[in-house]
Amino acid sequence: MRWLKGLAVAGAVALAASACAGGQVRGADRTATPASTTTPGATQQATENASTFVYAPNLEVVTDWDPATSYSNEIMAMANIYEGLTRYNAQTQKPEPRLATEWTSADDGKEWTFKLREGVKFHTGATLTSQIAKQAIERTIKAGGGAAYIWGAVDKIETPDPLTLKFTLKYASPLDLIASSGYAAYIYDPAGVDKDGKKDGGTGPYTIDQWQKGKETELTLKAFEDYWGGWKPQQYKKIAFRVTPEINTAWQLLQSGEVTFVPRLNPQLFEKAATTPAVQTSKASSFQNLLVLFNTETLPLEVRQALQYAIDYDGLVAALKGAGVKASGLVPQGLLGHVPGREPRQDLAKAQELLERAGFGPDKPELVLDLTYAQGDEDQKLLVTLLSAALKKLNVTLRAKPMQWNAQWDQAKAKDPAKRQDVFVMYWYPDYPDPYSWFVNVFRSKETPDFNLSYLKDAEIDKMIDALPALTATDPAAAQASYAELQKKIIDERAAVAVPYVQTYQRALAAGVQGYVDNPAYPNVVFFYDLAPSP
């Protein structure tokens, strides 16, 4: 995921962060699940919707058409073409039925049985059966690309009847949550997979109309007539993705009515959008937060803690002007394990005291720290600017290097620990809506570093992390307590990380669109099926 983020974020060059907070949408009520049936009489005399919904992403949409390995920007399209067994509802914080209508777990979370929806048609013409679903998941696991690891717990899959899918796991895992992932959890007809994007094997409401790689309007989708959810006249039948790298251009296109939806704006444009009549805005908190990882091998504990205190959290969030909210711990709000009330605060006096204890500070030797962050990311740059200004007063020089993700990551993984950075700045968000991702990837100790870039090695923490999936699957309350304890250990006791803010998605869309709701579990995805123009 970091990789994708490297792309998306670096790509955002001049784009401000994706935005966040709240979850209110101006002038739109929400429709989270498709109407199960379409009763012609029930719908008002809506006229057939002939308009095209134009989405303006800042990067090319599709790099991988295979639902097994897709792990990048194409989620914007894939989540409308393909469906999983479940879909995460950000409001209830629970997975909800999608291709599975109900599910149960047994044996302390090591056995899961999903009941499949009846009468679901693939775009290939095939009908959904447990056999095809099993094939799809097994194919995904075998391909091993992208986020296939999420199925790591699966031992075997059985199909007791055409509409029942039974998983046996090696260890307890929250499979209903895993199955809602936007990556690698799609149920598809393997016969429909086509790397050239001419056809697809999904069950979703939309299917590929035309894919023209490299063209401005890269991809168009059309309604799948036989969608199990049915169609109402007013729903959008045509979707276009129009690649627009410059945020300023995207805004002008939105204003002129040429595009319908812009996923990212900067705070100033967002502010302007809020007062522009032809445009509506949406703010939603995300699951993406900024991690400032301190090198636990080179920096003494006191220095790490001093750095935590040196960050101007309030100033940063103020400068973000709504594009982010102060984080409370590692786990963003809306996920299990979130602990409210542990927002950090800047305290330079305390930072100085800690530094002096470590032998540094204003009248002591100068401390020079190497920091790496994502090139072209304005928000990370803001953090760096504020942090270096604060540290300067404490006789600490921050040598901050903006880097391409590959290079930044390579340096962090250098064999020679002396070549690694002291501070590593990156975003993190989970592949499926579960906080386990932060802990197992970023803070569990590993022989050779990959994402554990604070290089923390703590057997006790490892042990607690390893117990998390089973706890989540069986005893959410205990899991919550364990997450709280882990965050205390990692942030307060070991000072391996500072978490300044959680991003807030700030979307702008044409005023005439009804029903838009942001779902942070599927970043940047618009579920077009839920939308309609206002009457």
Partner: protein, 338 residues
Amino acid sequence: MTRYLTRRLGQALLVVAGVVALTFVIMRLVPGDPAVAYAGPRASEEQLAEARRRFGLDEPVYVQLWTYLRDLLSGDWGTSLHTRRPVLDDLYLAFPASLELVGAALAVAVVAGVPAGVLAARYKTKFPDFSVRVTSMLAVSVPVFWLALALQTVLASGLGWFPVAGEYDSRLDVTSPLTLWTNITVVDALITGNWPILTSTLHHLVLPALVVAAYPAGVIAQLTRATLIEEASQDHARLERALGFGETAILTRFALRPALGPVLSLIALVFAYSLVNAFLVEAVFNWPGLGRYAAESIRSLDTPAIAGVTLLVAVVYVLANLVVDLLQAVVDPRVRAR
């Protein structure tokens, strides 16, 4: 002539070989393991090894260079790390759009630059001359990315005279889909008689073409002016004056023709340069060309793609130079003897 041709072609090949070697070196030097970039962050060791084999990274350097050369010649320019498609395919899609933009820009540049130069030469040291000199100097000094931003905001967004961005109105893809032949939209629309797309594309072309045209127009105006003034001061002009031709007639009827030679070869030379300038403009205008592709490649540190773009532009550059030299050799036999 044949001897000159072979020698000149040989030189061009030599230069291209040098360019290939240089791109190869640059690719080797780029930080970050391309295998990691390709295989993705959570790739297993086996997947990484597989990716390394795929890119030939486990071979000694000279073998890699040889493989690289062989692949280039056989049309395999590597696989882009970010689009995951063959680089040559990507270039084949992106290059025509840039070609369209640069072609339009050069047309604008000639149409604006030559008359401006004539005007300046006709009224030399007078006000028209002064304003042409200042304007052309401004045109070659302006940062194109900034000009793009300004024109877009004022003429498109503000006054609404032109579309903000894009190659044509994307809604036309539905109402009058375009059959692709050359991938150059204007040409394809002409061939297939797709008038809605043609007019839409031309309308969308105006602003970006104007921006890219700034530099070549300035240079062409300056060159036309200088050549014309030189021509007009020569003996034959004196004769024509004696024969009673007016200054304007002398400039346009007699001096302009010989002046067109240098202007033509200049166009070939500024072509490659304008291509690079288009790079800076395409993102602003959402133009689906080489520049946008290159910008994305740079952002994602996509070495095969960067190398591909570099190589393509360098080859275009060498070709343009070759064409200029051959044209000059045809016109002026002394060049051949050099």
